[in-house]
């Protein structure tokens, strides 16, 4: 029994809820209500200037027949899976290397975190310039070094546009993985490695027996967060390609924004609501993992 409870008794509960009131009101008004409203609007034929009527699944029927919508599904899946895999591989690999006792390690870590500090809109604008056929740095490096003699319009052709978007997204996103995994690695007691070494475990065995079990929760949470963020990232595609060429890089958020621009609000809302089922699973898994981590 704490001293505080003895002094304040049950008025303490009232106080506790009072402190939670502002955040609850703001989040109810700015997240919960709009969330429900988005779902409602997706079942109406609302346009700008006209609230529209309930049309049931009309918008979803329309979307199911739209090639752009299927392209968005496919591109979003490709973008999320490819970026997650690459960010995990790069983030984990670099974290393992930096986690050694190395001279200059702090500086290396800071340098590798740099893309994280760069605002996303800046990063993707810079990559847009780098990918340009005229004045772009990538073509300059490739032609000058002789690796690839021809100038490529990376963002302008279907075959390279998506890989280019993925590469830029990985560049900007890997530091979050790198930093998270590195923090987890540094929490592993050195004695565990010593013990494994005494038992004669090889580097590979030490990784699977000691390292991986220790960082797995972090990797899972990071994968969930990163998947949610990547599936909903707008800046990368919008600033690099605006979904082009001919829908080769169209993703859900950009498609929804286009719907909004053409003033067909109901359809636009249906686009973002259409990804809700998958999103809900990821969010539910994510919150469960994060709360479990908190209680430990």
């Amino acid at each position: 029994m704490s001293a505080a409870r003895a002094i304040f008794g049950s008025s303490e509960t009232r106080f506790a809820y009072t402190l939670l009131l502002p955040v609850s009101i703001l989040l109810a008004g700015l997240v919960a209500y709009p969330f429900g409203y988005a779902i409602y609007v997706s079942f109406t034929d609302r346009v700008v200037g006209n609230d529209g009527q309930w049309i049931g699944l009309g918008n979803f029927h329309y979307l199911a027949q739209s090639p752009a919508f299927w392209a968005a599904i496919q591109n979003t899946v490709v973008l999320v899976v490819a970026s997650d895999v690459l960010k995990l591989a790069i983030g984990l690999g670099l974290a393992l290397l930096v986690n050694q006792r190395l001279p200059g390690r702090g500086l290396l870590r800071s340098a590798l975190m740099l893309p994280w500090a760069m605002p996303a809109f800046v990063a993707f604008l810079v990559w847009r310039v780098i990918y340009q056929p005229i004045g772009g740095g990538l073509n300059l490096l490739l032609t000058a070094s002789g690796i690839w003699p021809e100038v490529v319009d990376w963002l302008g052709q279907r075959s390279t546009a998506m890989p280019a978007v993925i590469a830029a997204s990985v560049w900007r996103g890997f530091p979050f993985w790198f930093v998270s995994i590195l923090a987890a690695l540094q929490n592993i007691p050195l004695e565990l490695y010593e013990a494994a070494r005494v038992d004669g475990a090889s580097a590979w065995q030490r990784f699977w027996a000691v390292t991986w079990p220790s960082i797995r929760p972090v990797v899972i949470v990071t994968t969930l967060l990163s998947s949610i963020w990547t599936a909903n990232s707008f800046e990368n595609v919008w600033l690099l390609t605006q979904g082009g060429p001919s829908d080769a890089t169209i993703v859900f958020p950009v498609l929804a924004y286009f719907g909004m621009q053409t003033q067909r609000i109901g359809e636009a809302a249906a686009v973002s609501v259409a990804m809700l089922p998958v999103l809900a699973i990821l969010v539910f898994a994510g919150t469960t993992m994060m709360q479990r981590g908190e209680d430990e």
């Binding site: 989040l27 409203y37 800071s110 590798l112 500090a117 605002p119 310039v129 599936a231 909004m260 809302a269």
Partner: protein, 276 residues
Amino acid sequence: MKRQALLGRIFTYAVLGIAVLIVLFPVYWMIITSLKLPREIYRTPALWPQVFTLNNYRQLLDDKGFLDNILNSLIVASAVTVISLAVSSIAAYSMVRFRTRFRGVIGRLILFAYLTPTSLLFIPLSILMARLQLGNSLYGLVLVYLTFSLPLSTWLLQGYFRSVPRALEEQGMIDGLTRLGALIRIVLPLSVPGLAAVAIFTFTGAWNELLLALVLITSESARTAPLGLNYLITSDVLPWGPLMAGAVLSSLPLMLLYFVAQRFMVQGLAAGSVKG
């Protein structure tokens, strides 16, 4: 064995060196392009400019009014940071110190809010703001930015407050402080590194936001920095020079801040958003 260790070291530095080069190249290209004359950008691209010029910056600030955009961004990001720190620190304190019945549910809802993406909310939020007559204003922007800043800062601050020993607070209350007094005089001062990290996360989150600004802001005078740059590339001629000048101006302050406060940020990450 020694040879093997040496080879390992060489391999490590080689890989890390390449990674650092790949990380730095876009930053380098941004800076160098912002300092080049148009003819060097478009006709004879090179790794090092023949002539350095500040023309791009002059053009951006004088002709495009980018200083106003930066100012708008500063106002919005600062307001969001102050409001969310105030609101979320009392909420986080309540979550950490009191074992109320709905604590678990509220914690979960805050996480849900944190993970609810802007791409789902931007349509209803634009309708809502229009109805509140806040459609094309910085006030509206501040309000909608709370959708992502409040859950994040509440979640992160819980991690920091949990590490403040309860005994210190109780001692303070025995000495005559109220609960609120204990929060303000004891818990907050002891959490300054955490508050600083959360402030930086919140500030950068608001500073970087594009989609909501794009949907809500229609008048040129209310544009934020990302919005100003976005409208540079939707014009017919793509002015790479001024664009990269704008990129430098809107990212260098933040990158410096991250560099200085890096230790806090990494701790913040470990304490809050990703717990292993």
